[in-house]
């Protein structure tokens, strides 16, 4: 559904992302991990079509990514970014409705409004609808933005192909909502949507991801799929920390503990 072929992105002589080849299929939740500055967000932006002028090729749904217009892309994929900075008072309801902007011309259809309501309900922000977005807490605004991107790629028919990009979606959420968002991402993936997320919490990543991709200095170091046994040496090398792996008693998934010395 989404394929990167030898993708390299450089600023001057510095390669932010180097020779990346990856294939993503629909129904998958893929998580990209790595240190700060490893090129995760850059890769995400290239795959999402917002960074152009890269070397190599990206194919989205059997078409070159470059051949998509801005509007076509907006109807196909949604992106949750790390930061939002809104300078004027805008009600939360309008922010969520923006997710439907690519789908209507002047006035939202009844269907657009229903989708927004469902997305807000899903993220538990219905009661914030009339609040000024700027008065929300960090976690609340992250949930509102999540509702917006969910509304953007809400499936009109079952099994319609869509892609959801999440750049650190849980960074300011409490424990409950960290898991909640990833559960939603996982559920979304099941309905034929491809979800690609950048995460910093390795335990969350291994708990939910169908595939974990480790990056270091712009390159892919190692990819783990599903229940593959994880080598702690790889994790130690990627993050420059000493780790041990134990089992999560609830899910049997690996838990990484760090030796701080």
């Amino acid at each position: 559904m989404l394929n990167a072929r030898n993708v390299t992105y450089s600023i001057g002589n510095f390669k932010l992302v180097e020779d990346i080849t990856l294939d993503f299929k629909s129904g998958e939740l893929a998580v990209i991990m790595g240190q700060n500055g490893a090129g995760k967000s850059t890769l995400l932006k290239i795959l999402a079509g917002s960074l152009k002028h890269y070397a190599g090729e990206v194919i989205m749904m059997d078409r070159s990514l470059d051949s998509f217009s801005d509007l076509e892309l907006a109807k196909t994929r949604a992106v949750l970014s790390q930061h939002y900075d809104v300078s004027f008072p805008i009600p939360v309801g309008e922010i969520v409705l923006m997710g439907r902007y690519p789908h209507f011309k002047n006035t939202p259809s009844a269907n657009d409004n229903v989708i927004c309501e469902k997305a807000m309900e899903m993220m538990g922000v219905t009661q914030l609808s009339d609040r000024d977005y700027n008065t929300l807490s960090g976690g609340e605004s992250q949930k509102v933005q999540m509702a917006r991107v969910l509304a953007q790629i809400w499936q009109a028919e079952e099994n319609e192909q869509k892609i959801l990009f999440l750049d650190e979606p849980v960074s300011s959420l409490d424990l409950h909502y960290q898991h909640y968002i990833l559960r939603i991402a996982k559920e979304y993936a099941k309905s034929n949507i491809l979800v690609i997320a950048v995460l910093h919490d390795i335990n969350l990543a291994f708990n939910y991801a169908d595939r974990v991709i480790f990056m270091k200095t712009g390159k892919i170091v190692k990819t783990y799929s599903g229940d593959e046994e994880v080598d702690k040496a790889v994790v130690s090398e990627v993050f420059d920390v000493k780790t041990e792996i134990i089992k999560n008693p609830f899910s049997n998934k690996p838990i990484f503990v760090v030796d701080e010395k």
Partner: protein, 357 residues
């Protein structure tokens, strides 16, 4: 969060519309010769063929139709143009303190217009004489566009506009344009020089139907064009990258909107001079009333800007009657304190979450 949170947009538009009509009628009556509202109504109904028996003072009729009404219409149209421009630029640059005067548009247009005043019959301008009344707005547009382009070029890196650089570049370009205008008024012969100086502070005294029609048609076309961008401008408030994720070609939209905006402001400025603070303040008043939806801001700014400019011009004619004050003095004296009040209000409540929270 806003005063009129639960009031419908259409109610606000109608209220502003009715206020506008009332202000236009009152304003048309004010001046050296007072025309009471009843007489204005008689004059209008007479012109439309009603009450042919009512005696009409034909001098008053001429005064109303040839001097007062075009002037009041010009106030309305220019107020609308400047306020819509302010709302547009604030949304486009996602910054609450941007206005046409700040990014050099007005000063550049003023320089272009002064140029036409002084050199109207010399060299290339003599060749362009066939343009007639369109020469002045055209040269003003070239001046406004040049200044805006310089400021914009200096403040954007890799397609992102740095607002603080833009403000600094705006100061420099404004100073240069003002210097140019000053130089022109220095070398100009007396009547021209006097008109440049007076017109630098803005005046509606020269308004006639011809200029009203030019400004009104350009402003109307521009506002209609801007309204088509209301939705993408809303999305832009999330940030440029986010708006792009929502399917908007940001670079193309920016260039189109800056062109439209420069055209609208330059043409208005070429006819009435530089009028500050209206474009800055009106959109803020509307946001306090009811939110930042760009469609509402554009329509509301057109109406409210028209009303406030009509009132300001009325004050300019009353305060030192029978003489007349440049309107720029009024808008600066009223607009600047209002803006300071906005800053104070923001400081009081703006501990977190930006300018309005």
């Amino acid at each position: 969060m806003n005063l009129l949170h639960s009031v419908k947009y259409s109610v606000i538009y109608w209220t502003l519309g009715v206020l506008l009509v009332i202000m236009v009628v009152i304003s048309a009556g004010v001046g050296a010769v007072h025309l009471p509202v009843s007489e204005i109504i008689d004059i209008i109904s007479h012109a439309f063929g009603g009450h042919p028996d009512t005696p009409i003072n034909s001098i008053h009729e001429g005064l109303f139709f040839q001097i007062r009404l075009p002037r009041t219409c010009m106030c309305f149209v220019v107020g609308a143009a400047l306020s819509v421009s302010g709302a547009l630029m604030q949304s486009l640059f996602r910054n609450p303190i941007v206005e046409p005067g700040l990014v050099g548009t007005s000063a550049g247009a003023a320089l272009g217009a002064s140029f036409t005043f002084v050199f109207a019959k010399v060299g290339i301008f003599a060749e362009l004489a066939f343009l007639g009344d369109l020469l002045l707005p055209l040269v003003a547009f070239v001046g406004g566009l040049t200044a805006t382009t310089i400021v914009y070029r200096f403040s954007s890196f890799y397609g992102k506009v740095n607002v603080s650089t833009m403000i600094l570049a705006g100061i420099a370009v404004n100073a240069m344009a003002a210097g140019g205008t000053g130089f022109l008024s220095y070398i100009a012969r007396d009547p021209q020089a006097r008109s440049i100086t007076f017109w630098n502070l803005g005046t509606f005294s020269g308004a006639d139907w011809k200029s009203v029609i030019i400004v009104a048609s350009i402003t109307l076309i521009c506002i209609l064009a801007v309204l088509r961008y209301a939705k993408p401008l809303n999305a832009l408030q999330l940030g440029e990258t986010e708006a792009n994720y929502l399917g908007i070609n940001i670079e193309r939209m920016k260039i189109q909107l800056i062109l439209i905006n420069t055209l609208m402001v330059s043409v208005a400025t070429s006819m009435v001079g530089v009028i500050s603070f209206v474009g800055l303040t009106v959109p803020h008043l509307l946001r306090i009333l009811k939110g930042s939806d760009n469609r509402y801001l554009m329509i509301g700014s057109a109406l409210m800007g028209g009303i406030l400019m009509t009132i300001a011009d009325m004050l300019a004619r009353i305060i030192i009657a029978p003489a007349e004050m440049p309107i720029g003095i009024i808008t600066a004296f009223v607009g600047a304190p209002v803006f300071l009040w906005l800053l104070y209000r923001n400081r009081k409540s703006g501990r977190r979450g930006g300018f309005y929270a």
